[in-house]
């Protein structure tokens, strides 16, 4: 029996309500497309071993997020694991592994919303993995042969995965009009620049351990994945450019409003389908709120009462039978 609390929600799992439905849908579509590609590529790369390998590693990453170290007093650093998964398994399997982890976290532990899951998968599984891959393979090639090359590449890959993912997260929140971009972006960026250091340190140390024990597991994979390299590079570049642009805009909300312009126009079109109906009472905000409150309370208490009656009847029946 497992006696541990579920991992605390991390500051990158967006709950429902903090990204708009339109943004959620857009990122759901993007994530589904990319994960579909990953499914085919992973099978091609790993063959029959893919299910046991990815399944068990997903469990390891999920559980590994419980590993912590004290940073300051009560706060502690944790591992997200996208970089480690990428370095150990390669980019396409890592995308599937991280997607599994993030999905189950949302479904079962409400760590991140269900509508927002598409965006969360995009940030943590897709950006996290592709940015790690770009940074790691690039740096490793440059630092080839140096003893500390592995640690540095791992550190920077892990740091970048967290940092760039947080930029995407901030932009999604800003585009949804939930937080002004000139607040969300710097806030997320600075917090995750720090969190990324923890991820980097843990990742580098984990790689050092694995290298000392089983060097063969860290050999560069035969044949890189150019698609991911290009895609990851573009994403990282785009976010790096967009973010300072968004946060330096004098009135962050205005910039967001411009973006929302085309989004809200779509919405008002839908609303216009409903005729300008003013039911007596509904147009009066206070009255309709009170009415709704009364209805709500009646419904809830009605159900509670009904259940209590049913329980009492069941208890009476079973005691009369015994």
């Amino acid at each position: 029996m497992l006696l541990s609390p579920a991992p605390a929600p991390q500051p990158m799992h967006i709950p429902d309500g903090f990204v708009s439905v339109s943004i959620s849908i857009i990122f759901w579509i993007i994530s589904i497309l990319i994960v579909a590609v990953a499914l085919r590529r992973a099978r091609r790369q790993l063959g029959e071993r893919d299910v046991p390998l990815m399944g068990v590693l997903a469990a390891a990453i999920f559980a590994g997020q419980m590993l912590n170290f004290t940073v300051l007093g009560g706060t502690s650093g944790h591992l997200l694991g996208a970089a480690i998964a990428t370095i150990l398994l390669g980019p396409w399997p890592a995308i599937l592994v991280m997607t599994s982890v993030v999905s189950v976290q949302a479904l079962l532990f409400q760590d991140g919303g269900l509508l927002a899951l598409g965006a969360n998968i995009f940030n943590m599984a897709i950006i996290g993995v592709s940015v790690s891959y770009v940074v790691f393979t690039g740096l490793r090639r440059v630092l080839n042969g140096r003893a500390w090359g592995l640690g540095v590449s791992g550190f920077l890959a892990a740091w970048a995965s967290i940092f760039v993912a947080s930029l995407a997260c901030a932009l999604q929140i800003a585009l949804s009009g939930v937080s002004p971009a000139n607040v969300a972006v710097p806030a997320m960026a600075s917090i995750h620049a720090l969190i990324g250091i923890g991820e980097g340190l843990i990742t580098a140390a984990a790689l050092a351990f694995i290298y000392a024990a089983r060097r063969d597991l860290l050999q560069p994979a035969q044949g890189s994945s150019p698609g991911i390299l290009i895609g990851g590079g573009i994403i990282a570049l785009a976010l790096a450019v967009l973010s300072p642009l968004a946060s330096s805009h004098p009135d962050g909300l205005e910039w967001v409003a411009e973006q929302k312009g085309f989004l809200s126009q779509a919405r008002s079109a839908v609303y216009q389908i409903i005729p300008d109906y003013s039911l007596p009472g509904i147009s009066n905000a206070a009255l309709s709120t009170i009415l709704a409150g009364v209805i709500g309370v009646v419904v809830v208490f009605g159900i509670a009462y009904g259940i209590a009656r049913a329980d009492r009847r069941a208890a009476k029946e079973s005691s009369s039978e015994s």
């Binding site: 029996m1 006696l3 050092a208 351990f209 000392a212 024990a213 089983r214």
Partner: protein, 237 residues
């Protein structure tokens, strides 16, 4: 003259799992300095759970005192230096790339100066007869070697009492023999949870039987191990 107060004193210890199931049911036990005691019982009797209470990993109701110190949150730091817990699976305790680093974890965490750490590591490795293993990678060691390194990682903290959870589990006959010889040599007070009845007979003059979270018997090993009915009642044969 040192007063003969118990090194570990457990009074009426009770513990429930989060799901409500009872794990420990009013345990009373006293461990005197220098004793070597076996803790035996069927699987699920509560042996491991009891051990985890002795250094504060788990917290139940009732009182535990270590060397006169009450076991509570404020004292955990000191108590973990007094009570050395060696877990069953060495892989769970070894996380460095060299034996030295693993054995050095304890004293390093304590904040001891570098020279002191070095001395302690050397002494601990000597005690387990692995003095030339300091730069080896624990991952590549055999099961028996890993077990001894795991013991060294605890010895480097110079605890007053050593607690073992199934020390001979999974060892081949030779490694087992060597481990028992090592445990015989070590001077510390010991509490050993085990299924290995021959070990119990060889090593520990006193045996405590645990059954369903309560103490079912506590006395001289020779008497207890000869009592076939007692062993049978408690799932030990």
């Amino acid at each position: 003259m040192r007063s003969m107060q118990p090194l570990i004193e457990i009074q009426n210890l009770t513990y429930h799992y989060p799901d409500g199931k009872q794990a420990l049911n009013g345990i009373n036990l006293a461990v005197m300095p220098g004793e070597k005691i076996s803790l035996v019982g069927a699987n699920g009797a509560g042996k491991s759970t009891l051990l985890l209470h002795l250094n504060g990993v788990l917290t139940g109701e009732g009182g535990i005192k270590v060397d006169g110190l009450a076991l509570e949150k404020a004292n955990l730091g000191r108590i973990r230096a007094l009570v050395g817990l060696v877990f069953q699976n060495p892989d769970d305790q070894l996380f460095s790339s060299t034996v030295y680093e693993d054995v050095a974890y304890g004293p390093t965490y304590q904040g001891l100066p570098h020279s002191e750490v070095q001395q302690r590591v050397q002494a601990a490795l000597d005690a387990v007869h692995m003095d030339d293993y300091a730069s080896r990678n624990p991952y590549h060691l055999s099961g028996g070697e890993k077990k001894r390194i795991a013991i060294a990682t605890v010895l480097s903290m110079q605890p007053q009492v050593l607690i073992f959870d199934e020390p001979t589990a999974g060892l081949d006959p030779r490694a087992r023999r060597e481990l028992i010889a090592l445990l015989h040599e070590l001077p510390q007070t010991m509490l050993i949870a085990t299924h290995d009845l021959p070990l119990v007979e060889q090593l520990t003059p006193r045996t405590v039987i645990l059954n369903r979270g309560a103490v079912a018997a506590d006395g001289p090993t020779t008497r207890i191990l000869r009592d076939a009915r007692l062993l049978d009642e408690n799932g030990l044969c």
